[in-house]
């Protein structure tokens, strides 16, 4: 029987020759990223196929997702944030599909890898920081000076603000990564108990079923949190404070 962490093992599917000393093989992770892309794109395309005035079920899902992300941006980053709607919608769908496709038994959850979540978070961080400086120039640095703080404690506050700003990609990526790993590991552990305990395994089986439901909620919730925090960071870059 496989250990609870084996579900996270990266397995090459199509080994590719090394490029500049880097192994870029097409792996199970790459496969599920591709499936997430296909699933997100197909969902939107199938949902909008008939373009009905009164939406059907699938079209409602697509419109709900669209309005959900759009209102998230409007509420957290204002109207100017809507310029970044496509990238934020992509981010939301990619993470959401990564999380939920990972709930399929035997699949691979690419958002359970810190390098993936960190790359996404770092991209958000770098993008937002570059945007902030491009929009406000050196004034963007005033983001690190809290309003109304006495001058005397600024030397203490500014470094704290800078550190908390720079920690953002770490907290953003670790949150998603840990939630995915913890949930999947827990599921695997309880499923293992269910198999190992024979008749008594009914109890861990029930827990597994309950946790599965919980994990679907977490899959959505973490995608939402990742996206909403991106919007909040974007708001900082667009409006300072």
């Amino acid at each position: 029987m496989a250990g609870p962490l084996e579900q996270f093992v990266i397995k090459p599917i199509v080994p590719l020759p090394e490029v500049a000393g880097l192994d870029l093989s097409f792996t199970n992770s790459s496969l599920w990223m591709g499936l997430a892309v296909i699933a997100s794109y197909s969902l939107v395309m199938l949902g909008t196929r008939h373009a009905e005035l009164v939406p059907g079920r699938l079209q409602s899902i697509v419109e709900l997702a669209y309005e959900f992300v759009a209102s998230m941006i409007r509420e957290n980053a204002g109207k100017e944030g809507m310029a970044y709607f496509p990238v934020i919608f992509t981010l939301f769908m990619f993470v959401l599909l990564g999380n939920t496709l990972g709930m399929i038994p035997g699949s691979f959850t690419f958002t359970s890898h810190i390098v993936v979540t960190f790359a996404l978070a770092a991209a958000v961080f770098v993008g937002v920081t570059v945007l902030g400086f491009a929009k406000h120039g050196a004034k963007f640095a005033t983001l690190f000076v809290p309003h109304g703080a006495p001058t005397a404690i600024l030397p203490l506050l500014v470094p704290i603000e800078i550190i908390s700003y720079c920690v953002r990609p770490i907290s953003l990526s670790v949150r998603l990564f840990v939630n995915m790993v913890a949930g999947h590991t827990m599921l695997k552990v309880f499923a293992t108990f269910a198999l190992g305990l024979g008749v008594l395994g009914v109890a861990p089986l029930a827990v597994t079923v309950a946790i599965t439901g919980l994990e679907f909620v977490i899959a959505f919730l973490q995608a939402y949190i990742f996206t909403v925090l991106t919007c909040i960071y974007l708001n900082d870059a667009l409006h300072l404070h």
Binding site: M1, G3, L5, S25, M33, P86, F89, A182
Partner: protein, 198 residues
């Protein structure tokens, strides 16, 4: 997040316990024995590489093809709703105008009716007044005629009385005195007596 990481740690511990309980699997592979596969940097380049490709592809597909369709649908619906609202607004305005026209019509008719009613009333009143005046006049005339007739009758009666008095006087004088006086004398004496009595 802290609870989540605590959960992760706990589940890793639990996993070990589970493996111990089930007698271990022995063939867990190098990944499990080497800790979290996530911490193996040899897979990082591939993951990042495919992440970039997948994300860029999805971004391109969504931004260029999928999202404009959704935006189109929503916009069409918005336009449709706005147009419907506009139409409803104009219909409502029309209805209000028609209502105003109708009310004006009713008010006009009422005013006309009232005017006609007033005129008729006036006419009736005038007629009544005229007839009343006529009646009064004819009554007054009849009254005057009656008065005249009464006066004439009185005069006749008085005259007859005078004649009776004259004849009676003459008769009385003739019987008492035995003198035959003429009718004229008797009439003069009666007239003198009446004058003195008056």
């Amino acid at each position: 997040m802290r609870t989540a990481s605590a959960l992760a740690a706990a589940s890793v511990l639990l996993a070990d316990a589970a493996r111990a309980a089930t007698g271990g699997d022995g063939a867990g592979g190098e990944a499990t024995s080497g800790g979290l596969p996530q911490l193996d940097p040899s897979s990082y380049p591939s993951q990042i590489f495919w992440l970039i490709i997948a994300f860029a592809l999805l971004y391109w597909l969504l931004a260029k093809r999928a999202l404009p369709r959704v935006a189109d649908i929503l916009e069409t619906r918005q336009d449709r709703i706005a147009a419907d609202l506009d139409r409803a607004q104009s219909l409502r305005q029309e209805a209000e105008e028609a209502m105003a026209r109708h009310e004006k019509l009713v008010a006009d008719a009422q005013a006309r009716a009232r005017a006609e009613l007033d005129a008729a009333n006036e006419r009736i009143r005038a007629d009544a007044a005229r007839q009343e005046a006529e009646l009064e006049r004819s009554l007054a005339r009849q009254l005057a005629e009656a008065d005249q007739r009464i006066a004439a009758a009185r005069e006749d009666a008085l005259k007859a009385l005078e004649d009776v008095a004259r004849d009676a006087s003459r008769e009385a004088v003739g019987r008492l005195v035995g003198v035959d006086i003429t009718t004229e004398e008797a009439a003069r004496v009666v007239a003198d007596v009446r004058k003195q009595a008056a």
